[in-house]
Amino acid sequence: MELTTDVTNLWSEGDLNKFRRMTLIWGATVLLLLPILASLGYFMRMFQSNFFPHMRPEWFYAVLTLHSLGMVGTWFVGGMAGVSYLLTQYTHPSLAISKLNYWGTLVGVLLLVACTLGGLFGTGWYFLFPLPLYSQGVWQPWATVTFFVALAVLGLCWTIWTLDLLRAIAQRYSLKAALGLNYLLGKPGPDVPPLVLISTVSLIVSFAGFVAAVIVIVLFGVDALGYAIDPLLMKNLTFFFGHILVNITMYLGVAMVYELLPSYAGRPWKTNRVVAIAWDAVLFLILFAFFHHLYMDFAQPRWVQTFGQICSYFLAVPAGVVSIFGCLALVYASKMKWTLASVLFFLGIMGWGVGGIAAVIDSTVEVNFHFHNTLWVPAHFHTYYLMGVVLIILGFIDHLGLEVSKLQESPPRTKAIITLLLLGGYGFLSMFYWAGAHSIPRRYAVYPNELAQGTLYARVAFGFITVLLCGILLYLWETGKRCIKAFSA
């Protein structure tokens, strides 16, 4: 079927080079932020190890806030930049909006650094209502205002970016086609690459999440004016937004794997009816799975809790049966070209699966009763983040650097990077899982005497993070060289 725009007329060579250059700038920025934000996590585990007995705990909570928001934001923009670049094969995303987002994100990040490290704002990423307004004198009103201004700037920029990518997709494919409805209904229609389908689903859902975030920010303002706001409503909106942002980042990474892994495996990975059903099901299920964050709010209606568990369990079906199985079938007995990038893609999908299993276990209300806000929670989300989407985005940056620079990689160094990342990453995570199974709370600056084993687990984790950081630094050295050459090319 004819498409609305001829792809060959979408880009001039010069414009495409500019877009590629912008993507490299995004990639370099992500690579710069990675060791800084990882060091904040390193600091937190050191703090919990009692390495800084004289430091005030306020620092822990401020660093926790910056680490979590920084990491979520960094990988979201990394995913958006990567997907935007890959979409240039099929659509025409705006370079100007990518640039606007770059500067907007930079301003937002600087404001976050100011209010956390400068103002000790320490509410965690989720700034659960009404905690920002109850600082106990730790952070001043200017820090609270700066925090919300930072969120508003980031939210505005990212919403514009989301809408622009949707605009670009809709200009070539109708929204109906981009959602794979032709495949679903068995009707003729344009070939829709999985990248387009997954991006469309992700962008629609993230737009809904950003709208919820705007409502939360506005309601904080309304409360500050003296009108009482319902804390349960605020919590629902906050986790709707937060759950979506984290999951969409994962899906952006998965979209990249659908697009790039076939070129390494030498086999196609196309949209078909099953793939379309799977991702359209995700579009529905993801909107309601967030209820599992509120299982311990017993005031929430019981049918909502039940629905939360049902949606959370069923989200495993499209992920497992279609995407993870599809990845395995693609690679199985193929003429796979194993490079740093392709290994990272493959391991990233594995990390998504492993973390997903732990997440499904925790999404059982009966289990969550014992796991909620213990270290089991950061265990599973760090698994599909750090060992999932982060590896995929690092793979994408390496892929892009190699594609442009043509600088070949060193197999021994690739093996060393993979070994250090796996050993350090999964070793670090194992301490989260073990501690969670032993009822150790998350977000504790210092463990009380009754839970002193948490300190020991933090010390073991410190050792593994050291290994992980060595892997990250070696990766930065290898990929950094390619990116610098690519940038100067």
Binding site: P57, Y61, G122, G124, L128, P130, L131, Y134, Q136, V138, D230, P231, L232, V274, M296, D297, F298, A299, Q309, Y313, F314, A316, V317, G320, V321, F325, L328, A329, V331, Y332, A333, S334, M336, F346, M350, G353, V354, I357, I361, D362, V365, E366, V367, F369, H370, F371, H372, N373, W376, Y433, G436, A437, H438, S439, P441, R443, Y444, P448, E450, L451
Partner: protein, 185 residues
């Protein structure tokens, strides 16, 4: 302990997935064409196995939600208020700051062994997490302490001893030292 059951279940299923990934990666040493119809048939079986597991999971767990059952009458009611950075735990209702202060300084509440206890949990400021730890340090159960809401947590204690209450929702700089205590005798 349910936590350890969950941990070992995760190790088994997660370990199996990792082994599958290793097997698939190793298969690329001897590349060959594969029959995608056969792969689709495997996927179909996997779909039904996963669906069956999910339905079994619902069957085993949805009936065991920790929410209060209206047809069950608690033997004892305990009132809990969270406030930065302590829990007030009392036999009598806590309705204002003075009663909250009195509860935090009063002798710990004592509960009978084997009784079904209902904790009526709320907050006077921000969200807190009311979590009950056994004398062995195991997290027995929890609910949120949310301003404007009363969450009813029901637990039956079979082991006598000192039970610690810790806060499991980030509530500010003193979050890690926010606690309460009661005894079961």
């Amino acid at each position: 302990m349910i936590q350890m059951h969950a941990f070992y279940a995760f190790l088994v299923v997660g370990g199996l997935l990792v082994l599958i990934f290793i097997y698939v990666a190793a298969s690329t040493r001897h590349s060959r064409e594969i029959d995608f119809h056969a792969a689709y048939a495997v996927r179909k079986k996997f779909f039904f196995v996963l669906l069956a597991l999910i339905l079994v999971g619902f069957g085993l767990t949805l009936g065991k939600m920790p929410y209060p059952q209206e047809n069950q009458v608690p033997d004892k009611v305990v009132f809990v208020v969270g406030k930065q950075f302590s829990f007030g735990v009392s036999d009598s209702p806590i309705t204002n700051d003075q009663e909250y202060e009195a509860a935090t300084y009063a002798a710990p509440v004592e509960l009978p062994v084997g009784a079904l206890v209902e904790f009526r949990v709320t907050s006077f400021d921000v969200n807190h997490g009311f979590s009950v730890y056994s004398p062995n340090g195991d997290l027995l159960g929890q609910t949120q302490a949310m301003p404007g809401y009363v969450n009813r947590l029901r637990l039956r204690f079979t082991q006598p001893g000192r039970y610690n209450v810790f806060c499991l929702e980030l509530c500010g700089m003193g979050h890690h030292r926010m606690r309460g205590v009661f005894y079961v005798k």
